[in-house]
């Protein structure tokens, strides 16, 4: 009798497994139930953090100049702290150069009210000015481990696609033999944004490229867009930043230090150029294969991973998982390899313009 029960139980188990395999394969064929991003739980910590990022982003746009005097003083104190913590020869030389160089609109750039001018330095690349070079490139495949990111209807996960493209990009860049290419993760593990930022610092990265895949639940189009840190221009970008900042681990108390990073003009200049080059290469090449792809351009957004890294940093949304055709294409090796190739071309174009020979100021 017992053996009959046990046999029945085994048959049931087997039946369940076979059904599971069948349903999994149906999903691959796009016949399974649609799956979308996991709903994210609301957290006061995250909300506070997000408000703070927005606040910083507003500062970057120069709007803080209109703030009441006591707020302006607080900000000034923060920026002067930034200077105190960066007493290296490099940093002093940097300030001296800014002071002495007549191309800048004002001589004294160390006070807060000159910060806007500091960001609007005329069309001279500071990297060229200093003759700096890129040696180490850090590639950051978005999400990973417990954080899957977006999931397409066929079950394709953003974390798997970003990791695969990142590895291909790494292999491509390594073939040049002149870059040290590092990844924030090379397998399916959870890495917090904080750990990604720390890794970039520890490895002395000179460029930071974060790879993501978009998801637009209400609009089944395929878009390409690339971000660098800055105040967002629209509501959609704010929502996207909220999603991509989910694994932060930063505390509010650490924001003082992060505010200091806003003063990194060199990073701002180079990030914008790198983002433009990557976006241009991605879009123009993908457009040849997909006439319907849309160019959402280069944008500023308050992504924490871009703020935290000291060097030129961009976050690129290379494809769109909510678009079924695109999801199918992302499941082919050749499409992922092509994306890696376009990213490589974007990075090389940026480096070869000569304006980008830049080795980051490190702390």
């Amino acid at each position: 009798m017992i053996s009959v029960f046990s046999r029945n139980r085994e048959l049931k188990t087997r039946k369940n497994i076979l059904r599971g395999i069948y349903e999994d394969n149906l999903r691959i064929l796009g016949k399974g139930p649609g799956i979308t991003r996991k709903r994210k739980s609301f957290s006061f910590r995250k909300a506070g953090l997000f408000v703070s990022v927005l606040f910083i982003a507003l500062l970057m746009s120069g709007n803080y100049l209109d703030f009441p005097l006591h707020e302006e003083k607080q900000i000034a104190a923060t920026f002067s702290d930034y200077g105190k913590h960066n007493t290296s020869e490099e940093y002093r030389a940097f300030l001296d150069m800014l002071e002495q160089n007549s191309v800048y609109p004002d001589k004294d750039l160390k006070t807060n009210s000159d910060y806007k001018a500091f960001l609007n330095i005329p069309q001279i690349s500071l990297s060229r000015l200093f003759g700096l070079h890129v040696k180490t490139i850090m590639i950051d495949p978005g999400h990973g481990g417990a954080l899957s990111g977006a999931t397409g209807k066929m079950g394709t996960k953003e974390k798997d696609v970003t990791l695969d493209i990142a590895k291909r990009l790494r292999d491509r860049l390594q073939r040049h033999g002149r870059f040290n290419v590092i990844m924030t993760r090379d397998k399916d593990v959870t890495v917090s944004l904080r750990e990604r930022v720390e890794l970039a610092r520890l490895q002395n990265a000179d460029l930071f490229i974060s790879i993501h895949v978009n998801y637009l639940p209400s609009n089944p189009i395929n878009i390409i867009e690339t971000y660098f840190f800055g105040p967002p221009a629209d509501e959609k970008t704010l929502r996207l930043a909220e999603r991509e900042n989910e694994a932060t681990q930063y505390g509010l108390s650490e924001f003082k230090e992060m505010i200091g990073k806003i003063g990194n003009t060199l990073k701002y200049q180079e990030s914008r150029k790198l983002a433009s080059s990557i976006q241009k290469n991605l879009y123009t090449n993908i457009k040849k294969e997909d006439k319907n792809v849309r160019d959402y351009g280069v944008k500023r957004a308050p992504f924490l991973v871009l703020l935290g890294v000291d060097v030129p940093a961009v976050l690129t949304e290379v494809s769109c998982l909510s678009n079924e055709i695109e999801e199918r294409k992302l499941n082919t090796e050749s499409h992922r390899e092509n994306i890696a190739y376009y990213l490589e071309a974007g990075i090389l174009d940026y480096l070869n313009k000569g304006e980008a020979i830049y080795e980051a100021k490190r702390r």
Binding site: L18, I28, K157, D160, D164, N331, S334
Partner: protein
Amino acid sequence: MKQREDNVLYVGIDLGTSRSSVCSSNGKREWIESYVGWPKDFISQKVLGKSVLFGEEALSNRLSLDLCRPLERGVIKEGIERSEEAVREIIKYLIHSTKPSSEQKIHAVVGVPADTLKTNKLAIRKAVAEFVHSLLVVSEPFAVAYGLDLLNNSMVIDIGAGTIDFCIMHGSIPSEEDQKTILHAGDYIDEQLFSNLSEKYPNSYFNKNMVRKFKEQYSFVGQGKGEIHVEMPVDGKPVMHDITNEVKKACESILPAIIETTTEMIARFDPEFQIKIKNNIVLAGGGSLIRGVREYIQNALKEYGQCKVTQVDDPLFAGSDGALKLAQDIPAKYWETL
């Protein structure tokens, strides 16, 4: 459970990084090295007399071929589209070798490395679809587990060439958390052995293919049985070399990651079932043939309590046997929609 139809040929395929095998319901069993080569030019084509070569034949004629090992990360030669084409060629070859009759439908289950499955599902389906009527794609360690009836409280460690795949079975289809892949596998041993030998014998002349053969013939961990001597040329003259320590060191280089991943995965599992899993660990894949690997892993894991590690009898066909069993067990109604 079996619902076999007379006009259907069931096929189980193990599409491995290093070797691929096929088993079919008409009793055919075949395997090849997962290499595909196309003649480089018309001269090569004339010399070789074939438009495409597979496995060992492709390897031994590699100088005249564009050689591709499709499931490796990247390919040996440039051009990723070639790797998709190579997968198609391997599948075509394997299915052809089962000799299906013209009126037979082919229902196939294909096992692929767990990591490949994550992003290449559709590509693999596309590559296989043109040669079969209906198809299921599963992860390799799962196919092995299914073939051995290890459906509950067990763990399969599939030591392949490109990856080592871990899979815990607990009475249902394994989720992502139940499967893990590490990249330090057979190919990594080759790299280590090549580097060890280059360091010890800088004047000797050998290539990666020779090193791979040394590994396959002599690999061991722990206490070996005597010294290993191989012949390699030095300044054109064949000279015997002692490679015992180099082989041991290279083979043992993958063990810490295996032990760490195994203990980590078991530790994450429900504590009530941990002992059962620890006593039901099965090694599969070509790497399970490394002499002493089963004993080494069992001894290392004993530190965490009683455990039993076994190995599959036929690592070359364990995956395709499991895939065939799956193919025969899948209800007919499921095949209709696949």
